[in-house]
Symmetry: C2
Subunit: 109 residues, 2 copies
């Protein structure tokens, strides 16, 4: 992963994962796969699991353990009300930053 991307993901990766979780619960390995499929090819597994631990501890998701046919049991994460609120705030923060940057890019000092 480029160093720039690594730094830029700080703060946004959590939002990305929360966004992935809206509508459909998912488990860690699945989320990692999803991220890679969306172009974040170099996301480290450990990064995702650590993030999931964090958002669980912050109470943004509900967790349920379910058996897998193909390996160890999965931890399925579901976005809860607090998580949705956090995601809303994330989009607000993102929008603000995004607009400022777009303005900068198009020469609007």
């Amino acid at each position: 992963m480029g160093k720039q991307m690594t730094e830029m993901l700080k703060g946004t990766l959590e939002g990305i994962v929360l966004a992935l979780l809206t509508g459909s619960p998912a488990y860690g390995y699945e989320i990692t796969t999803l991220l890679r499929a969306q172009g974040f090819t170099e996301i480290a597994e450990g990064t995702v699991y650590a993030l999931l631990v964090r958002i669980e501890q912050k109470g943004l998701v509900d967790v349920e353990k379910r058996p897998s046919e193909k390996g160890p049991p999965r931890k399925v994460y579901t976005l809860n009300a607090l998580g949705e609120k956090e995601l809303d705030e994330f989009w607000n923060t993102w929008s603000f930053l995004s607009e400022r940057l777009e303005q900068l890019r198009t020469g609007g000092k």
Copy 2:
């Protein structure tokens, strides 16, 4: 500053400052003022100065000390060739991330 914004600025603030520097050199205090005028109202002075030290050490800017009528001498930063290259890469990284997030926001899993 919201905690989300703080994290999200990691990686982007450097790009923002480099972008501010394109076309017109500026000094630290001025850059802080500019940032605040653009909505980053809670950017800490120390953050900007530390960042400037960093981009100088990375060789992305040229520095010139100029006397000020109103206080201590200013350190004026000018974007150089390496800095422009870094800025280009920043925009690439940003574009990628921005597109992915826009896709996520509009429901495109």
